[in-house]
């Protein structure tokens, strides 16, 4: 199997900067580096989880990949096609093969359209179907995501959050995509509804052979669904490993912080002790010279502040960008 056949999505050194403008003439005085050199690959039929706290650039990365936001530089290869240099024709194909599920089930559905019309809209834009074919397809999609077709003439405000997210998923699946980008699809939902939606996503993957790029800020959610997990911090990936490895042995102090945020009932569980890591994201305008996590890291030493660590494979299929990961290994996560 050649490389392009194996991977559904290859992201190479993706950068998205937003200019900061100031003054009367709106001069650009600097950039916010929302996504700053992100690379990853997703194999066909697999799920990659992109995790990080709010504002770390996950959503921007996702929207850059699907070209909702213009990326500054980098390369995205989707199923053998370069997304950023695609001409109108191939972009149209890409738009069909790649779809996105949004975070906010209230904002992502047009309040003035019926659910049936919302789901039918991608089909109307991209395919020429008769209205009976269209209805059949909509009914099919509604059933697939576990909604009854009798609701197709209802409006989004007549549904609950979980149901709306199902509608959002049905819309994303309407064009039979190969890749679905899930931008925190469950973070706005109740925990009980979360599991329903996650199960639905998993079922859809098994049934339709989908590839997911799954974005979340909650590691517990990701563990359930993802094959590979990439942890993002301030626009960069700081650790990437298979789900199993990452949960067993996180090598980056930041991953450890995220792990400690998973609520546990059993106090003897893996990382019951509360992490000492405090603080919040530093100002995005001026990134530190060294490791971007250094200001918050309890293990930070001279080198961390001086020099930026590169993403290196420290263990098989486990890459991490940290000078202190050996120490992390020795500590066995107890920081």
């Amino acid at each position: 199997m050649s490389d392009t056949d194996k991977y559904m999505l290859e992201v190479n050194d993706l950068r998205t900067y937003f200019p900061v403008k100031k003054g009367l003439f709106r001069r650009t005085i600097g950039y916010v580096k929302a996504v700053d050199g992100v690379s990853f690959k997703i194999e066909k039929g697999q799920t990659l989880g992109l995790v990080g706290e709010s504002g770390c650039g996950k959503t921007t990365a996702a929207r850059s990949i699907i070209r909702l936001i213009q990326a500054t530089s980098g390369k995205v290869i989707f199923d053998g096609t370069d997304v950023f240099s695609a001409d109108k024709q191939s972009l149209k194909q890409i738009r069909k093969d790649m779809s996105i599920v949004f975070q906010d089930p209230y904002g992502s559905l047009n309040p003035r359209m019926t659910v049936g019309d919302i789901i039918a809209d991608p089909l109307k834009v991209n395919k020429k179907l008769s209205s009976s074919q269209l209805t059949e397809k909509v009914i099919d999609l509604l059933r697939k995501v576990g909604l009854s077709e009798i609701y197709m003439n209802r409006y989004p405000h007549e549904f609950s959050g979980g149901q709306r997210q199902r509608v959002g998923l049905a819309r994303a699946l309407a064009l039979e995509p190969k890749l679905v980008i899930c931008d925190e699809p469950v973070s706005a939902l109740d925990v009980s509804i979360q599991s329903q939606i996650l199960n639905l996503l998993k079922d859809m993957q098994d049934e339709l052979g989908l590839t997911y790029l799954f974005i979340a800020h909650d590691l517990a959610v990701v563990e359930f669904l993802c094959d590979i997990v990439a942890v993002m911090y301030m626009g960069q990936i700081v650790e990437k490993a298979t789900s199993e490895q990452l949960y067993k042995k996180p090598l980056h102090p930041y991953t450890r912080l995220l792990m400690s945020a998973i609520p546990k009932v059993d106090t003897s569980a893996r990382y019951a002790k509360k992490s000492k890591i405090k603080g919040e994201l530093t100002d995005r305008g001026q990134l530190p010279k060294g490791c971007s996590f250094a200001p918050r890291c309890p293990l930070a030493e001279g080198i961390c502040i001086q020099k930026k660590p590169d993403l290196e494979e420290k263990q098989p299929e486990h890459t991490v960008a940290c000078w202190k990961c050996q120490k992390m290994l020795d500590l066995n996560g107890e920081i």
Partner: protein, 310 residues
């Protein structure tokens, strides 16, 4: 879509759109409904005058030129609003004046909506240079005192021909008002489109390849259109007032009655104690203004999706 559902023997539950829901809540407001009846009465009178003129009927209320009694007859049972200098019925003139006012306000509203909504949508959606040009145009327009601007337009447009049609009194008035007053609705729509265009449902539409035109017409405009309706009802009042002012200043309909012309006539008559012509026109303006204002507020309260569930 509904009929196909029926063919397949599936009973689809009918949903309640935000429109339907809004109108239902509007219908619950008794006072607003009374105002709506008043507004519709004015429209009905206008329509009646038009129909009568078109078919050349000569029913009483339209025959305002007819001499019905002595000059300056004060109001009594026979002459409800009295008579004017020529012995014409003031009541008939007031009714005929409704036609002028409603026509002007309606046409001016349509013109300003047809200019303001597309410009606002384009400016808000595309931003950049287009936005700056449109904002610059309307800022310039709105920096000129409103009445002066309308006057200037009315004077310029008067007795000109446009597309082979000679612009007579009333046409001049609504063109002048319409061409100068699209700024408000344009600004409103622009702001609202800017608010909506980065919402996730618009991003979703873009992610599956909707064109810009499709996004504007199918996704964005339906979400801001209730504002057009609300703005229309409130602006209608100010257009009626503008028509009155222009007629008062002698720029309106020259040889047919209008409320502004009646007030203008009354200016001299008042000194002689002839108050009824002024009173009739003022009362006519008062009721439609009040009704439109109250109805407009009720529309705003019930059509705004954010105030739903109350």
């Amino acid at each position: 879509m509904t009929d196909i559902v029926k063919d397949k023997k599936i009973v689809a539950v009918k949903g309640t759109s935000l429109w339907k829901d809004g109108l239902r809540r509007l219908a619950r407001r008794k006072f607003a409904m009374v105002c709506l009846v008043i507004i519709l009465a004015y429209f009905a009178v206008t329509a009646f005058v038009y129909v009568a003129e078109f078919f050349d009927w000569q029913p009483g209320p339209v025959m305002w030129t007819e001499e019905v009694g002595p000059s300056y007859q004060p109001p009594d049972v026979k002459y409800i609003f009295g008579t004017d200098i020529f012995g014409q019925s003031v009541l008939r003139k007031t009714i005929y004046g409704a036609k002028t006012s409603v026509t002007v306000a309606l046409c001016a509203s349509l013109i300003s909506i047809l200019i303001g909504v597309p410009l606002g949508a384009i400016a808000g959606y595309f931003r950049g240079v287009v936005d700056e040009i449109i904002v610059w145009i309307y800022s310039t327009l709105s920096s000129i005192p409103y009445i002066l601007l309308i006057l200037a337009f009315a004077v310029v447009l008067r007795d000109k021909t446009l597309f082979g049609l000679r612009l007579t009194g009333m046409t001049t008035v609504y063109l002048a008002i319409g061409l100068t007053s699209w700024v408000g609705i344009c600004r409103l729509i622009r702001g609202e489109i800017i608010k909506h265009k980065d919402r996730e449902y618009v991003l979703a539409a873009r992610s599956y390849g909707s064109s810009n035109a499709r996004i504007i017409f199918k996704q964005l405009l339906p979400n801001v259109f209730h504002l057009v309706i609300i703005d229309f009802s409130l602006r209608f009042v100010s257009f009626i007032h503008a028509e009155v002012i222009l007629s008062f200043l002698g720029l309106g309909e020259a040889d047919k009655p209008s409320w502004g012309a009646m007030i203008n006539d009354a200016r001299i008559e008042l000194a002689r104690g002839v108050w009824w012509q002024m009173a009739a026109a003022t009362v006519a303006i008062f009721f439609i203004s009040l009704a439109l204002n109250i109805f407009g507020d009720a529309l705003r309260d019930s059509l705004d999706p954010k105030l739903r569930m109350q």
